[in-house]
Amino acid sequence: MDISAFLLFWAAVFTSNILLTNFLGMCSYLSVSKEVESSLGLGVAVTFVLVFTTALNWLAHHYILVPLNIVYLEYIVFIIVIAAFVQLLELIVERYAPALYYTLGIFLPLITVNCAIFGVSLFMVIRNYNFLQSIAFGAGSGLGWLLAILMLAGIRAKLKEKLIPAGLQGVGISLIVTGIMALAFVGFSGVAPIQ
């Protein structure tokens, strides 16, 4: 695919937002978006992990899975790589950047099971991105996810003072809000098609 890495990055943030167009990474999106502060922490952690795991998985795909002809095992390999990386990152951050660990590190275990991370690695392979494109796509997807959760957290903070029917409180109203947000983002989709 010949699309510049720069364009891909912005496309991943806005027009093809991983959360709002693919609805990936919903669990932590819904559960953590209660507070703006935590949302920011989780969003940064997701972005960081996305950049590194897409890079690692790209390398694993092109230098291990393809040569050995075991591409069909990529699901397992990608998941193991993501899990191991997150674990390693947690250990390092906790030791050398305690301040960062306390703002972001505690979200790391949540990320291991975040499907947006895994989804980005799979898209990268399906769409045949090169190494640079993959990193741009990973970073963009992460920022896009951060943007989405921050917006929802902001809206939910305002919703706290509003009257909402009992049955819709919490997850219900959050999903409706997310749907409306997704509609808005779909409006951008013609600007830079990437899929």
């Binding site: 922490g41 291990i64 095992l73 390693l88 390092i92 030791r95 306390y102 505690i106």
Partner: protein
């Protein structure tokens, strides 16, 4: 075909193996905090291996903060005050802490990792719960099925408890019993004796622990127990006191009275001990002697069915019917009860009927 399978499995195994090795090494390097010191209440230092959470580090040293979720940060029970070395407050703790607690430095011990020396404050009632090793110094037969047993702690050890509290005795395997059990018994000696304590233990038919105590233990044997536990203890007020006991329920009240003997009291106290016949009474001489120690204390054994040859001239029937004679002001009376649940139920009913406030009635109803 077979070769492909082996190659693919081999590749996958190699990848996971490699990552596992990396993680193991990383754990060794990055998660090694060496030995850390935990200072508790400014009194005691304990050495632990760094890297574990505070809750687990403390329980390794037999200090058990309450925890209902097992350290997953979802129950909020394991709070304790961290004076120094706890690191910044975590978002996972915040929802469980009130404004006052935040200001006081209260933290969730399961969320804090011990990475350096740390100073904490733990309520004495929890801090004092420990495991003790002791040697049996004396065994007294009080009645045909009740013994008083004195345990002396290891040299240098001491126990802090409130008169009225209990300990859990741990059994050793014996005869057909292959596993250890723990059973609760009230302490009957005074808290001022810090190097020893006495338990009054009544033989329970088919009881694993009481059978062990009654038939196998002898002076000089070594045993272990944990404690002290319980919120049945004397309240420090000026109100009149009514003690009511039955069976082995004498133990905590003996402890309270002996404690009062040391610290002295002017309170009006009456002690009813309900039993069936004369042979169920014990410690009568000791209680009579205490009547001379306190300015206003009366010991009243009450027999429900005195045998003809008991020549009983004391009070008869159930203890409840004698309450009106001794309660001079129900508003200003505290009651301390220890005995069977049937007795406790009946006594509470009688006392509230006489106007004693329910929250002034303290009892220990056999767990």
């Amino acid at each position: 075909m077979l070769a492909t399978i082996f190659k693919d499995i081999g590749a996958l195994t190699a990848i996971s193996g490699l990552l596992a090795v990396v993680l193991v090494l990383a754990e060794r390097i990055f998660n090694n905090y060496g030995q850390c010191k935990i200072n508790i209440n400014g009194k005691r230092d304990i050495e632990v291996k760094g890297g574990n959470n505070l809750l687990a580090s403390l329980s390794d040293k037999q200090i058990y903060l309450p925890s209902a979720c097992g350290g997953r940060g979802s129950c909020g029970a394991c709070k304790c005050k961290v004076l120094e070395g706890g690191g910044p407050l975590l978002p996972t703790e915040k929802p469980f802490l009130s404004k006052a607690e935040l200001a006081a430095g209260v933290r969730l011990s399961c969320q804090i990792k011990v990475k350096s020396d740390i100073a904490v404050e733990i309520p004495d009632s929890i801090f004092n719960i420990r495991r003790f090793d002791a040697t049996i110094a004396e065994i007294i037969d009080y009645t045909h099925d009740t013994k008083g047993i004195t345990f002396v702690l290891e040299p240098g050890e001491s126990i802090d408890f409130k008169a009225g509290q209990y300990v859990q005795l741990l059994t050793e395997p014996y005869a057909k019993v292959r596993q250890r059990v723990s059973r609760a018994y009230s302490i009957s000696s005074k808290p001022e004796d810090k190097d020893r304590l006495q338990l009054i233990i009544r033989l329970v038919p088919e009881g694993i622990c009481t059978t062990w105590v009654h038939q196998y233990l002898k002076v000089g044997d070594k045993v272990s127990f944990t404690g002290p536990y319980g919120d049945f203890y004397l309240r420090d007020t000026d109100a009149d006191i009514l003690f009511v006991a039955g069976g082995s329920g004498k133990a905590p009240i003996k402890s309270i009275l002996e404690h009062l003997e040391v610290v002295g009291t002017q309170r009006k106290m009456t002690y009813f001990f309900g039993a069936r016949t004369l042979k169920d009474l014990y410690l009568t001489e000791e209680m009579r002697a205490l009547e001379k120690v306190f300015p206003d204390f009366h010991y009243e054994p009450v027999l429900s069915q005195p045998a003809p040859d008991d020549n009983w001239s004391g009070k008869t029937g159930y203890v409840m019917r004698h309450f009106p004679d001794v309660i001079r002001d129900p508003q200003n009376t505290e009651a301390y009860l220890c005995g069977s649940p049937g007795m406790i139920d009946a006594v509470i009913k009688a006392l509230t009927g006489l106007g004693v406030a329910k929250d002034k009635i303290y009892y220990d109803s056999f767990g």
